[in-house]
Amino acid sequence: MTHPPPPARSWVDTALLDTLGGLRDRVVLWITAKGFAVAIALLVSLVGKRRMSHDNGIAARGMVTILDNPALPRHEFFRAGRTLPCRIRHATATFLDDAVRGIRSMSVKFSDHHLRSPFDMQMNTGAVSLFWSAASFLQFARMRKEKWGVEYHDYYRKYPSGLAGAEEAIRENPKSFHDLRYYCKTPFRFTGEDNIKRYAKYRVRPYDDQPETGINHHPDPTDVANQRVPRHDPRGRNYLKYEYEDRVGKEGAKYLMQIQLRTAAADDDPEIFNNMKTWNEDLHPWHDLAVIDIRETLDWKESCRTTFSIRNMPKTLGVLPAKSVYDYNSLNYMRAHSGLAHRARLLNYALFGYPPKIPDNDNRNYSDWEKPPRIINRSYPSTLK
């Protein structure tokens, strides 16, 4: 499809209109990000004691060592041989049930503190995402409409890219959190010691590169919205967390963190920031960046407390600026503005206690704690006895 060239405008008109339009777009973006963060903080975190989606997880601690990789431009933060304590957290998105068909995540924090850190990274399974901008994410949230383990049905119907992202990212009955691949998807800034501006994407894979499990190679597009636990599935609600505890207890868990770089240019196509499109790996190969060696899992409370934020980054590695809610970088912009929600949740923990552990019972496909007796401190009756 070709389109006729737009009517010629003088550069003054263009500059004026673009400036005014750009200003308006940035205001809308700021209001959207702040408003969303406030809404989540008040309605989900403070009142509901919830993260936005990844409540069902397990945290662990260990050490991260930056590798000496001459293919990478030198960067003051990623100095070769640097070793830092770290925390990670694996989670299953949305549902309080490990056996559902769902997206799994891994967040990394280059410190052993539950909140503060010089570098945090949040990643999910799948090389592409289910949404691509702030506007898209808001639609994604609006169209969740979860019921009995089925969600995003309308969203997938209207957004084929979202459906493709789900097919790519959802894992069904993986053997372990450890053997999955996790991608940050939306690029970040990377300005090395050579002062050349670059964009970076991160991913984590098992150090021994064992094959990934849980991939559905022939997904049924009409059934992607159905994330329910298959009937007669023997796996329990916490099987992944238990497996991970066992694994770390026996042999530890070792990961390789990789980075993909591309040099910025003034005439870059905005599509390079699109998290629905992977970069060409022949032109922009993955480079080994760091080894994450996990030695101890954390208990439920510490897992709840451990919080990640992509604001925790050096300036040279931070979030790329976004111009509007349709800008692909607006997604990270919104993530970076979610600190208020984190603090609200931690405040709730401090005032009213932690949420109960997820019980090993047959109430499957839940994305919320069952029958909460109180709004403020949701708890599970059987766990109170």
């Binding site: 499809m1 389109h3 006729p4 737009p6 949404f131 691509w132 901008s133 506007a135 898209s136 808001l138 639609q139 119907r157 209207k158 957004y159 084929p160 890219s161 979202g162 196509d269 905005p270 599509e271 699109n274 629905m276 349709y326």
Partner: protein
């Protein structure tokens, strides 16, 4: 509708040394029976709502003054609304230019598919899809445009910022059908009519792909309740895939109201005092037709010409029947003509419908055929029902020869209506229209064919109800054939109608003006098609896929070959002989070539030959282009000339109840239908008589949409010019060029 023709429209009489030249009488009658309604009526003249409200019984006309006033107010309101809409369209025109600067990050995707239970999910290719935004102040912004692909899918890039602009109030996606209007010769202008419109919530546009999903459109579906390829129309006013143009309805209203009122008066009179109305009185209440006019005009010594041998032969050769003559192998200058009667079709026991074979003497030169023998096979009275009984009549048989000719005319009338009119021109054209409308869009053949294929599905749907159906139709009540019998007969007739190998009728002698006119029209049509292909060959080849899809639809939905359903080995000798004769005559009349390769689908040998079996022109076999040209010539010829001929001559040949009708009743007499016209017991009863006059007037007098007049500007003016260039030659064959319809719509 007929037009002025001072030289006489048809040469029909040949009388030695007449006191009054019958040709002058004929010319005068043709002029007098011309249709004219100079008075358009006054405000309270009854009106017809639309062709969809016609009934053989009581059509839904508006006659009450109160209703007329209310209807006028409603009409006024509708016109006001339409006027406001027209004003808004002028104030806020839709500029085709696509708005926006960045089309890389967002697109609408979806698929156009057929709606309905059976075609569900089947893609519709090459449908135009447009995305329009409406601003808060009413103006239109064109956001995206394109056409669906072969698999029905489309992807329309758009500028996200333009779509999400604060100025935009709402957005909609429109899927259109394309028709064409000729503002200039050879340069059609596409006109889009919205087939489906979908509201797109503006806030849901977030970039990347927005899925409009399967857009299900109720376009041109095949009926599944009949083996004949017919268009699915449940309700004329709601789910028909096309609409009559307003001019068609207006033409109908102008012509039919006086006829309708006459019929209503007769029906009311027959309901209250049936003895007060006779068939001659019914006849007298309707406008004169050719035969009544001639009989009224001729001097007493020439009365009865219309029942004479010359007139009989002339009408059979050049009238509505336009019969085919097969040479008698044993006698030079002798020919046979056949009308197939019951032949196992579902029928009633009230009307006679014997198989009729007529032998003519046809001399070379300008001589009309003279019947020399008529053979009936089948029952002629209520007491002898043996279907194989045979009766022969010759001119020396006196009055019985006259009776036999009347029976032959009536059998011929029914055969012409069912075989030649309904099956050959209506349903035959409809099967091509259906395949073409389902598949032709971007291919220039669409411009060529569309004006000739419009409205046939609509009028066939009406014909199903008012003429064919057992419950409401006229023919099952006024002839031997039941509704089922008509369906069977139409299927069999279509079983010999193939576009491939079709040739116009061979000219027998100089008096055979029908065949001459048909050949002339055929040749002009071929020339017109050749010219069109020369100009548009590249685009035709580029969009060959549409031709392939059309051919596939056409072939796969066509009826089985007539002869393939007959197992001659299971017939006894008598049946076999008759069937072989029938197959031979049938296939000869419609130029059917049984040796052509044909496709078998679901165990049925399909009648229609494929145009092409390749999706692309480059892969196609040699000869496919010629196939396509032949197909175009055949379909245009059938939809225009062939239909015009049989349709406009109806009122001449079955416009007098006692001269010819669709069925003579057996009556109670020992001779059955072999009785004089004064025996009304064998004629149609008065209700059927007035209904027959009504519909023969309806069909012949309400034509609309002519090639040269080009009322809707949808026919390439070049075609009209080519016909006009041969106007005098056509006139010499009794054909008025301006009266040839561009489409089959009545």
């Amino acid at each position: 509708m007929q037009s002025d023709n001072p030289t006489g429209k048809r040469v029909i009489l040949e009388v030695d040394n007449p006191v009054v030249d019958p040709r002058d009488v004929c010319a005068e009658c043709l002029n007098r029976t011309k249709i004219r309604y100079p008075d358009g009526g006054n405000f309270f003249t009854p009106r017809l709502r639309s062709i969809n409200h016609l009934e053989v019984g009581r059509s839904k006309i508006i006659s009450s003054p109160v209703t007329i006033i209310v209807e006028y107010v409603v009409l006024l309101y509708q016109r006001t609304v339409e006027g406001v809409r027209r004003l808004l369209r002028q104030l806020f025109p839709r500029h085709p230019r696509i708005r926006g600067r960045n089309f890389s990050g967002a697109s609408f995707v979806g698929r156009t598919t057929y709606a309905g239970r059976y075609d569900h999910g089947k893609p519709i290719h090459h449908l135009p899809v447009d995305i329009w935004a409406r601003t808060w102040w009413g103006s239109w912004r064109h956001l995206a445009s394109g056409v669906s692909g072969k698999d029905g899918t489309f992807r329309l890039p758009y500028d996200l910022r333009e779509a999400r602009s604060w100025a935009v109030r709402r957005i909609r996606a429109e899927v259109s059908q394309i028709s064409f209007v000729y503002d200039q010769r050879d340069q059609p202008r596409p006109v889009h009519s919205v087939a489906e419109s979908i509201h797109v919530p503006k806030k849901e546009l977030t970039g990347m792909e927005y899925n409009l999903r399967d857009i299900q459109i109720g376009l041109w579906a095949y009926r599944r309740d009949t083996p004949i390829p017919r268009t699915y129309i449940n309700d004329h006013d709601h789910d028909a895939p096309e609409r009559y143009v307003q001019g068609r309805t207006d033409a109908l209203q102008d012509q039919i109201i006086p006829i309708e009122l006459t019929k209503l008066k007769h029906l009311a009179q027959l309901a209250t005092a049936p003895e007060s109305l006779s068939i001659p009185q019914i006849q007298a209440d309707y406008p004169l037709n050719l035969t009544t006019c001639i009989e009224n005009t001729l001097p007493p010594e020439l009365k009865g010409y219309t029942r004479g041998d010359e007139f009989f032969g002339a009408r059979m050769m050049n009238g509505m029947n336009a019969a085919s003559f097969r040479p008698d192998p044993d006698h030079p200058h002798h020919y046979w003509m056949l009308y197939w009667g019951y032949q196992g079709y579902d029928h009633n026991d009230v009307f006679a419908f014997p198989t009729t074979e007529i032998k003519y003497s046809i001399r070379p030169g300008n001589h009309t055929p003279l019947p020399v023998e008529i053979i009936f096979t089948g029952a002629l009275d209520a007491y002898h029902r043996d279907p194989w009984q045979q009766r022969r009549f010759r001119p020396g048989d006196g009055a019985r020869w006259t009776y036999a000719k009347r029976v032959a005319r009536s059998v011929g009338g029914l055969v012409a209506e069912v075989d030649d009119h309904f099956a050959h021109t209506h349903t035959n054209t409809e099967q091509y229209a259906l395949a073409a409308f389902r598949n032709l869009r971007l291919n220039p053949v669409n411009w060529l064919m569309q004006p000739h294929l419009r409205e046939v599905s609509l009028v066939d749907h009406t014909a199903d109800r008012i003429l064919v159906s057992q419950r409401h139709g006229y023919i099952p009540r006024a002839s031997a054939l039941t509704g089922l019998g008509i369906q069977q007969r139409v299927e069999d007739t279509m079983g010999v109608l193939d576009w491939k190998g079709r040739e116009p009728m061979r000219v027998i002698n100089d008096a055979h003006t029908y065949a001459k006119a048909e050949n002339l029209f055929w040749n002009i049509t071929r020339e017109y098609v050749e010219e069109f292909f020369e100009r548009n060959l590249e685009a035709i080849a580029e969009h060959w896929y549409e031709i392939y899809r059309m051919s596939e639809d056409m072939v796969n939905h066509s009826v089985r070959v007539f002869r393939s359903r007959i197992d001659l080995d299971r017939l006894d000798a008598r049946e076999r002989k008759m069937m072989e004769k029938r197959i031979t005559y049938f296939e000869s009349r419609y130029s059917f070539d049984p040796t052509l390769p044909r496709r078998t689908v679901n165990g049925e040998l399909k009648i229609l030959s494929p145009i092409t079996e390749s999706e692309t022109f480059l892969d196609a076999q040699p000869g496919v282009l010629q196939n396509l040209k032949d197909w175009c010539v055949y379909v245009i010829h059938t939809a225009t000339f062939m239909h015009t001929w049989v349709n406009e001559h109806q009122y001449e040949d079955i416009g007098e109840v006692l001269y010819s009708c669709l069925g003579l009743r057996f009556g109670e007499g020992p001779d059955g239908v072999l009785a004089p016209e004064s025996d009304y017991r064998i004629a149609p009863d008065p209700v059927r008589a007035t209904q027959m006059m009504w519909w023969s007037n309806l069909l012949s007098r309400t034509e609309y949409g002519f090639i040269t007049r080009n009322e809707d500007r949808d026919v390439n003016p070049r075609f009209g010019e080519m016909l006009k260039a041969h106007e005098e030659e056509f006139r010499s064959y009794g054909v008025i060029v301006d009266d040839i319809e561009a489409r089959t719509n009545i």
